[in-house]
Symmetry: C2
Subunit: 413 residues, 2 copies
């Protein structure tokens, strides 16, 4: 790539078919937001939509709105929409509960499908809540399940006929490295294991086809690339062939075949409704639906195309502008295994990120030394990437920074 | 009680010390809302508070609001407030997740504290989701736990040294009958069992002192008397003495001792934080906090006093105005065992309730024959009770009704 300047980035923005989506978000002035992989930005439509639901549906409709405003089906209706985002058939995705709770549901259902097996395989670097949930589930069951944690290149070797479930996060939250869901799922199936995918950094960020990949279960997060708001409800996908056999661990009334018949005994609902638990969180679901609807307006191929161009640009600019400062790029150059973020490491990563945030460039830091920059094609411009890297170079080059960094570090750690 | 007329009710409203609270709710015109025990009404402060959180904290603050706006502690902050409502010590209540998920947490933690015992006692008429969750948990654990379901007067006889947990709902959702938490808990403790209480129809409705009663665990609902909105987050109480020993089944990162250290292994947080699971649902929690704050403004004794006067009035008026129509009153006359609702049975209960709702008197129906009327002292007037019963009498007395009821019934069942 030849040397890039800001004018080139402006030209890229003018030619961007997704440029119009930026105005659909309420982004604050003076901020370049590179943390949509942690908390997505606010869609402009969300406040008025939520106000209408609160004032009209809750306030005036009261209890009647469960029927008159379709609250009763809201969790599944949004699930149908998310199904389109992840390449799933209709009626295979349920929304509600946190990602952690959905990991519990999916992993429990998976190992119950392989009752004679006692091993759960995952990556040592998987997002901690997934590992904690697996650890807690194994302890709860008390049947000697082993949580076998391996390095990324050790997954294939860890699979054998004792493995009940392989649980992986498709896009690594620290590095942005992406796994090939189809081939890894096939490897799991080859030993008879169930494949459970965490799509927290995939859904809304990279092209997905859970059906074609043969995934058994998948969970995902509503508050990152789906822009559903802080702590938004998560989702769970279950392959249609498993619906009849799968047993969910949390058998609340919203997973019952007839919730309002108030039957004395549990009878699981047919299909994906079995993945519900308690009364669905209507206000939070409404906010999630706005984010999902907005994402569905954008063609998936355009999203992926822009995401890769943004990360290519970011990487090129780091090499061009920041070569002197000791950053290491940990996000893969290969498009086939890159998510929608760029991660750099630096021994002074924490104070550098603090300095960036103080200047309005919001990424985040992950111990011990990772600077993460999420690249969200719906609301990020190419000039934002230029300005972010220019700010980074400016911070690193400033004498003031070199004088201050150790005291800064002392102050924050 | 001598014969009551509407003028008497108007006088009661003029003398009501809680009368001012009604204007703090956005109640629709033409509606008498007697279903706050199913979905509480909308506090007037909720829309603007939520709009501010969405636009300022999420929209402008973005990821920074986890710290700058205290999102990180929100679930526990609201828990501290709910603790005051239920007679619990500070730092013993956590909010988040659905009531069903919290029943799972509490019951699982309870039976893990009695690993050598294999019986869970509950009432056959307990709210179904509690029973379904217990059934599912027993199946998941696969250790032969028996769910021993008894009639209300059979609880004491069902308690023996094999009982790990006694799980009861304090106020029966159908009849409004209230259990004495202290004496039942003592009976459970006498055989060494853990007492798990569901306060869905108690919290915000009747005086509670979980600490004095010695309750081990309690869960409650955010969307009924707490007015937190449809599907609001629920809460979980754990007695302080259990905090160190209790093991929660869903060990997500928000129950970890150091969630943002991203440690590879699970270490439970100290205290009630251990009852967290995933990322807290900020928007839903904010709505819940408004409802809880409003309730905390009202003196508990005044709430209970008015609640009983409303239900006394309702019962007296049913006897006075509807004696001819075959209703049976199933709510106890004894104040000591009455919650904050009135329930009647009638063979034509379903079409009668439909007729009431069509005329703006909103209660609900529970199979096979129960008409439920929730009495919420914060926003209900004595004249509302008069008008509701007068409407009921009018419906029952109308020739039109007598002609139509069988076809109505045919149309709705």
């Amino acid at each position: 790539m030849s040397r890039v300047n800001r004018t080139d980035c402006e030209a890229l923005d003018r030619a961007d078919p997704l440029a119009g989506f930026r105005d659909r978000f309420a982004l604050p002035d003076g901020v370049i937001y590179l943390d949509g992989n942690s908390l997505g930005a606010l869609p402009r439509a969300t406040p008025s939509r939520l106000a209408r639901v609160i004032e009209d549906e809750w306030g005036r409709g009261l209890i009647r709105s469960w029927n008159t405003h379709g609250w009763i089906n809201l969790a599944q209706r949004i699930g149908h929409k998310i199904a389109r985002l992840i390449g799933a058939a209709p009626a295979t995705v349920m929304t509600g509960d946190s990602t952690s709770v959905n990991v519990f549901k999916a992993l429990s259902a998976a190992i119950e499908l392989r009752p004679e097996r006692r091993v759960i395989v995952s990556e040592r670097g998987n997002f901690p809540t997934d590992l904690y949930i697996a650890e807690g589930l194994a302890a709860l069951l008390g049947r000697g399940h082993e949580l076998r944690l391996v390095e990324p290149d050790g997954v294939a070797a860890a699979l054998d006929e004792r493995v009940a479930a392989l649980m992986l996060t498709q896009v690594d939250y620290r590095t942005g490295r992406m796994l090939d869901m189809a081939s890894v799922t096939t490897a799991a199936h080859d030993v008879g294991a169930i494949a459970v995918w965490d799509l927290a950094h995939s859904a809304g960020a990279v092209p997905l086809d859970v059906a074609a990949a043969g995934a058994d279960f998948a969970v995902g997060c509503g508050y990152k690339y789906l822009n559903g708001g802080p702590g938004a409800p998560a989702f769970l996908y279950a392959a249609p062939l498993l619906h009849e056999a799968m047993r969910m661990p949390l058998t609340g009334w919203f997973s019952h075949a007839a919730p309002f018949a108030f039957e004395p005994s549990y009878r699981p609902a047919a299909g994906i409704a079995r993945a519900g638990i308690g009364t669905p969180p209507i206000l939070a679901l409404v906010a999630l639906e706005v984010g999902v609807d907005l994402l569905l307006e954008a063609p998936g191929a355009a999203l992926r195309g822009k995401s890769l161009k943004l990360s290519d640009l970011f990487l090129a600019l780091v090499r061009q502008e920041c070569a002197a400062w000791g950053f290491r790029i940990v996000t893969p150059d290969d498009h086939a295994i890159r998510g929608s973020q760029v991660s750099l490491t630096h021994p002074e990563g924490y104070p550098i990120m603090q300095a960036l945030i103080a200047r309005g460039v919001i990424g985040d830091f992950r111990a011990p030394d990772i600077l993460r920059f999420g690249l969200t094609p719906l609301y990020l411009r190419y000039v934002d990437v230029w300005d972010a890297v220019a700010t980074l170079a400016d911070i690193m080059g400033a004498e003031a920074w070199r004088d201050r960094r150790f005291s800064l570090r002392a102050a924050v750690t």
